[in-house]
């Protein structure tokens, strides 16, 4: 694991006795390899190592009484800084209806996460959620959301025909008329390079004015995490990221890549297929997991 690798590297670093420019660069080279193995994007790793090198070669580290601890701290702190320092909460409106739009690639976990989010919002904010079935493309997508929602006691708004944007607008109207407080929109999976499908999301965002546009991504995403996050963020604008399938043994380097490139934070993670398998994201935990 990345943290095992990191502790191996640190053991070697401790063996150096004193720090100088050469062994700091060696240590960072090992860390670079460990990050690449964890699926952090190539260009992100380069930017990370350049930034960490600068801090590591600073006065503070080289003249420190405990240079090795300082060096370790520099790397760890830099990682946590990119991932967000503390946990980040949902943007919930305490007055009107909060609208959350879930977007992402095909199969990333949006439909499952939509119901997990409904459960979380109900339990932690005591707000009544309404799920909107805005995926009119995928066979049985509406049925899937319907079954999952009903099983867990949530209402959904769906239509047999109609465009996703219109379904959302009707869903908002329905929510107002029936005192729902949180609207969770499940959208169809799409490629960030699919202009027509991205335009649909842009229109949906403009008309629904969501409090959160959340990118749902698989924890095991590879190098393409940067293009995907950047694509969704530049075309649509995202307010946060959720990582699904963190219960796999994936190192999760995609998390670092996506936060780094968008400046947005990972707020929640999916840790299983069941509705309660949904937790807040703590940067220090994945920093350790990525490093090991």
């Amino acid at each position: 694991s990345l943290s095992n690798r990191l502790s191996e590297i640190m053991k070697k670093v401790r063996g150096w006795g004193s720090l100088n420019e050469k062994n700091i660069r060696d240590g960072l080279r090992d860390i670079k390899l460990a990050l690449l193995e964890a699926d952090v994007n190539y260009k992100v790793v380069k930017g990370f190592i350049d930034g960490a090198t600068e801090s590591a070669l600073g006065e503070q580290v080289l003249n420190s009484i405990t240079p090795v601890q300082q060096f370790t701290k520099v790397v760890y702190d830099y990682l946590v800084k990119i991932l967000g320092e503390e946990d980040h909460d949902l943007k919930i409106s305490f007055g009107g209806i909060s609208v959350f739009m879930l977007v992402g690639l095909q199969g990333s976990g949006k439909t499952t996460t939509a119901v997990k989010l409904a459960h979380y919002v109900q339990k932690n904010y005591n707000k009544k959620p309404l799920l909107i079935a805005a995926d009119v493309y995928r066979p049985a997508a509406v049925k899937q959301l319907e079954l999952l929602s009903e099983k867990n006691g949530f209402s959904i708004y769906k239509e047999d025909n109609g465009k996703p944007v219109d379904i959302c607008l009707s869903g908002l109207k329905f929510a107002r008329e029936n005192s729902y407080q949180v609207l969770i929109i499940d959208t169809a999976g799409r490629l960030e390079i699919d202009e027509k499908m991205m335009n649909e999301l842009i229109e949906m965002k403009n008309r629904m004015k969501p409090h959160e546009v959340i990118l749902i991504a698989d924890a095991a995403t590879g190098q393409v995490a940067v293009s995907v996050a950047q694509g969704f963020n530049e075309k649509l604008g995202i307010t946060g990221i959720f990582l699904s399938r963190m219960d796999s043994d994936a190192r999760g380097g995609a998390a670092l890549s996506m936060s780094y490139i968008t400046g947005r934070y990972i707020k929640f993670i999916g840790t299983g297929e069941k509705i309660p398998d949904f937790e807040k994201f703590y940067p220090s935990r994945i920093a350790s997991r990525i490093l090991n």
Binding site: D218, T221, S227
Partner: protein, 273 residues
């Protein structure tokens, strides 16, 4: 792009960046750049790319010539969650039907909500019948019935959809092993293809997925989906090289026709275009 003539180090480092960014991974990439380093003598631009393609091609396991045809072929489709299995079952059934085969689909994902409904839509698109039970039924029982139906109806190709499962979930992997055993026992004379579906957007975790699925149930071939995305799917090449498993098909979109026979040369041309 200095692959087109430059100092050796520059060329190798450019290739390293290209391959890593395509998800070939550190290990496979360094194997390839190491071989490039040894064989690169001239600095003609055409030689570099051709040499690189040759080095990669010879390391990937290519699909072997088709076995002598048997009465029945069974295709067991499995992989982690969300990779495109159900969609691929529909596409594969459609492809085989178009080739004039008598095809049957087995809906052995009895876990996920609306999985059977989803597969029914695909089976209509492929014009292929489905053997199914209900959500919550035993997946092995569905496979058992499907095998009987395949034999009874003189089916040429049986395509079996299974539930997504993470390779590090032991109980789920044991269920797949059980399904595999039922298939082996019920259709001993059939050609049984155990096919792992890998999502092209997956990173190095694909190696862990493939080696565990191979360990538990054995993998005869890889289906690489979502190749129409911005991902290059290099992880499937790394898996093919490391575990000696051929990539048989690739998914190139969300329509029933979007399944191609995987062609290594076309893929490498696309990668280095």
């Amino acid at each position: 792009n200095s692959i087109f003539g430059g100092k050796k180090e520059e060329v190798l480092s450019e290739i390293e960046e290209l391959l890593i960014t395509a998800d070939f991974g550190l290990e496979f990439t360094s194997e390839i750049t190491g071989a490039m380093d040894n064989k690169m003598s001239s600095f003609e631009k055409d030689d570099h790319i051709r040499l690189l393609k040759d080095i990669i091609r010879e390391r990937m396991t290519l699909a072997s010539l088709p076995e002598p045809p048997t009465e029945l072929n069974a295709h067991l489709i499995f992989g982690v969650n969300g990779t495109g299995k159900t969609t691929t079952v529909g596409k594969l059934a459609y492809k085989l039907k178009k080739e004039g085969k008598n095809v049957l689909i087995a809906a052995a994902d009895t876990y996920r909500d609306a999985a059977i409904e989803q597969l029914l839509v695909w089976s209509k698109r492929a014009a292929v019948p489905v053997i199914r039970q209900f959500q919550g039924s035993d997946a092995g029982a569905v496979v058992y019935d499907a095998c009987d139906a395949a034999l009874g109806r003189r089916v040429d190709d049986l395509v079996i959809d299974t539930a997504g499962r993470l390779h590090n979930k032991e109980m789920l992997m044991e269920e797949l092993v059980k399904i595999g055993r039922i298939l082996d026992k019920k259709l001993p004379d059939a050609q049984r293809f155990k096919l792992l579906v890998i999502d092209a957007t997956t990173g190095q975790n694909g190696l862990s997925q493939a080696s565990l699925f191979n360990e538990y149930v054995g993998v005869d071939g890889i289906i690489l989906t979502k190749l129409d995305s911005s991902a290059k799917g290099g992880i499937a090449c790394a898996v093919s090289g490391k575990l000696q498993i051929p990539i048989l098909y690739a998914g190139t979109g969300e329509k029933v026709v979007d399944l191609i026979n995987f062609d290594v040369d076309k893929y490498l041309d696309m990668l280095f275009s």
